[in-house]
């Protein structure tokens, strides 16, 4: 529903926020959630094209904290799994320019 670009990983399933290790960053590609829930995430900065960095997590790794758009937001793994990403290379400058 929020598909803005189609360049997913060539092999198999697209990567998600869950695949990020602490300190890693990726570009958010789309949110596989119904309208209202996706909207709430977008208001917090999870917009397609935004650069997201994985931060600390609760003991046991769930929920996890993500740095996005100047703030730190905690998401459960079940939600993070539905936020599909694309790698943060080359696109970085363009994305930064768009959201700054």
């Amino acid at each position: 529903m929020l598909q803005l670009s189609g360049n997913n990983e060539p092999d198999g399933a697209p990567s998600t926020l869950l695949d990020l290790r602490r300190g890693d960053a990726a570009i958010l590609d789309r949110i596989d959630l119904p309208g209202d829930e996706a909207r709430r995430l977008m208001e917090l900065g999870f917009l397609p094209g935004a650069r997201i960095t994985a931060g600390f997590s609760a003991p046991g790794g769930d929920p996890r904290v993500f740095q996005v758009d100047g703030s730190e937001i905690a998401l459960r793994r079940a939600t993070a799994r539905l936020l599909k990403t694309r790698p943060d290379k080359g696109t970085r400058l363009a994305a930064d320019a768009r959201i700054r």
């Binding site: 709430r40 003991p59 100047g70 700054r100």
Partner: protein
């Protein structure tokens, strides 16, 4: 409101002198405070209004309404409404609906604000500016308050406020509400001529990405330089969210909270008790013996005193929770607790209400408002009254002191402390089991979305902590002055009528005694006699009244008149009955204030009725089992 001496622009100056209170509230201009959560809105509200504020509910909805009066430098008063924190104006949640209705003048109970203070976090301006679009499009005079300006400066951020003001077509103030920087500008805006905002452009409001693009563009044109990442927050989080140190700190914090409850509060509580004893003795000595003196001392003074004694304990606990919340740690605690809470079907945000419920269920139930998922919120409300509050603690302490000799277990633990801890655990386990049952049946919900913003760590301010404690004291004392006072007076009357030849009857033949005897068959299986029965009835209003009640009954009974309350109870209850009484109090929902707040927060009688019924059945059967298993 002070006399309006030299105020020119004050159109109502003629009517400014003393007037009935009813028309007074209509005169001040009304200003609304709007902003996203964590923008420091409440801190600014405290700055503007100080002690002149009150909290109520918007009628018909479960949204808290903070209103206050700000006094302008020229002496005029302005009514300030602190609206709930919102991320957008698309009315989806109840909070957003209320904010939208107030700002557009659709709520009959609230006057339409003539001006808006839009509070944004200047350290996260690009995202927070998104809210400026719908607010400015309302066409109401607006001041853009860029809060936390000290943080922005200290972390090498920058914003050109003139450029921002030009873009948004509205005045901009750089403010640090915590330090009081720039507050004068806010007052100047409130006192000055108000103009409608004239932004150069506005995005399509329904489109979040478009709004964000617009906010980014405005930020760039205002040469916004975001601050460096908060180093201290990252450093502290590397400890507080560390896989090993994190849970350890969490456990220490929870332990410290209970340590405060058990030990630090005791000298203060003894002080309050002493005050009531001394003043009670003074009243007894001053007044001639009469029925009125008896009512004043045995009814009012002892009854109210038995409740007010808890004030230090409740306040210390709220001070603790206030420090945790204002510093930002509570969000981390919720994060750490989330996984454990998820096991019983709840979520991390339920942790905060359940912790506060150990001080008092009423504010705890109010604090469930941060839980967006309605079913999770209802479940949290339904289990919160199982947490051991100070009222229960007082009953426990009395009964344990009457039956359990103080001994050392394994050389270290006190036997009485261990018994108390067991009762805390009993309440907690009942809550967990109930949550599990509710969340797998009537309140079942799919995997809940859990979104929690981690604010940067900040030093709590004395002002905001002080105002919070003042607010809690008011609620607490109002309860002692109304519900408890009323129950104690009614009880005193019931225990002193019908009179025989102008003299009070023996307690057994009074109305109170007759009622106790009437319910005795129902409570006999639990090991309780009619005196305990009277105590159970009065404790329906508030748990701790049973102590005042039993004190009054045993005090009037010649058989137990001489001894203290603990030995009188020991004389009247078997050990099985004592355990049954403890179990009964651990489970029963004996608190009118809690029932009232649950009704208000869930919007009807359905949930409080279910809760009261469930907890009563659990209390009765638990006590029945205890009375028959322990002999």
């Amino acid at each position: 409101m002070s006399v309006c001496g030299s105020c020119h622009g004050c159109e109502t100056s003629v009517l400014e002198l003393p007037r009935p209170a009813a028309t007074r509230s209509a005169t001040p201009k009304t200003i609304a405070l709007v902003g996203p959560p964590n923008s420091g809105k409440s801190t600014l509200f405290n700055r503007l209004t100080g002690l002149r504020q009150k909290v109520a509910n918007f009628p018909g909805v479960t949204v808290e309404q903070h209103t206050g009066v700000a006094e302008l430098p020229d002496g005029r008063a302005v009514r300030v409404i602190d609206l709930p924190g919102i991320y957008s104006m698309s009315p989806r949640s109840e909070d957003e609906q209320v904010a939208y209705d107030v700002l557009t003048g659709k709520r009959a109970d609230t006057p339409k604000p003539e001006a808006i203070l839009l509070v944004l976090d200047s350290t996260n301006l690009a995202r927070h500016l998104m809210l400026a679009a719908p607010i400015l499009s309302l066409g109401v005079p607006t001041l853009i308050v860029l809060n936390m300006a000290d943080d922005l400066r200290n972390r090498d951020g920058h914003v050109d406020r003139e450029a921002l003001s030009a873009q948004l077509g509205a005045p901009v103030a750089l403010v640090s509400a915590r330090r009081g920087e720039g507050i004068d500008e806010v007052f100047d805006f409130m006192a000055g001529a108000l103009a409608k905002p004239t932004p150069t452009e506005l995005p399509v409001l329904q489109d979040v990405p478009k709004c964000r693009e617009w906010a980014g563009r405005v930020g760039r044109q205002a040469r916004y330089q975001p601050p460096a990442p908060p180093q201290w927050t990252r450093r502290l989080d590397s400890v507080f969210l560390h896989p090993v140190a994190g849970p350890l700190v969490f456990a220490l914090v929870v332990l410290a909270v209970f340590q405060t409850l058990f030990t630090a509060a005791v000298p203060l509580m003894n002080g309050v008790r002493w005050l009531f004893d001394v003043s009670g003795a003074w009243i007894t000595a001053t007044l001639p013996p009469s029925a009125f003196r008896s009512l004043l001392i045995d009814g009012v003074w002892k009854g109210v005193g038995s409740v007010v004694v808890f004030l230090p304990q409740v306040l210390l606990l709220f001070l603790f929770i206030g420090i945790l919340e204002d510093s930002g740690y509570l969000a981390r605690a919720a994060l750490i607790a989330d996984r454990t809470m998820a096991r019983v079907g709840l979520q991390g945000k339920s942790f905060i209400p359940l912790l506060s419920a150990h001080a008092c269920a009423v504010p705890a139930i109010l604090s469930t408002r941060t839980i967006e998922n309605k079913r999770d919120r209802t479940a949290t409300i339904l289990i919160a009254p199982f947490m051991t509050c100070p009222a229960r603690l007082q009953v426990y302490t009395l009964i344990i002191a009457a039956f359990l000799p103080e001994r050392r277990l394994l050389g270290v633990f006190s036997s009485r402390a261990a018994a108390l801890l067991g009762l805390y655990a009993l309440g907690f386990l009942a809550a967990v089991a109930t949550a599990k049952a509710l969340k797998s049946s009537i309140l079942k919900s799919g995997s809940t979305q859990f979104l929690l913003e981690m604010p940067s760590y900040r030093w709590p301010t004395v002002q905001s902590l002080g105002l919070r404690l003042l607010d809690r004291s008011k609620v607490f004392l109002r309860r002692a002055g109304t519900v408890i006072l009323l129950v104690m007076v009614i009880l005193w009357v019931m225990a002193h009528v019908p009179t025989h030849d102008g003299r009070a009857p023996a307690i057994e033949h009074s109305f109170a005694g007759q009622i106790g005897h009437a319910i005795e068959p129902a409570i006999k299986p639990l090991g309780f006699n009619w005196k305990i029965g009277v105590g159970l009835i009065t404790s329906l209003a508030a748990r701790e009244t049973i102590i005042g009640t039993l004190g009054a009954i045993y005090g009037m009974d010649p058989e137990t008149h001489s001894g203290d309350l603990a030995s009188a109870i020991h004389h009247d209850l078997t050990p099985g009955g004592a355990v049954a009484l403890l179990v009964f109090f651990a489970f029963a929902m004996q608190c009118i204030s809690t029932i009232a707040v649950v009704r208000r927060e869930t919007g009807g009688w359905k949930w409080p009725a279910l809760q009261f019924g469930y907890m009563s059945v659990l209390a009765y059967s638990g006590a029945f089992l205890a009375a028959h298993l322990i002999r």
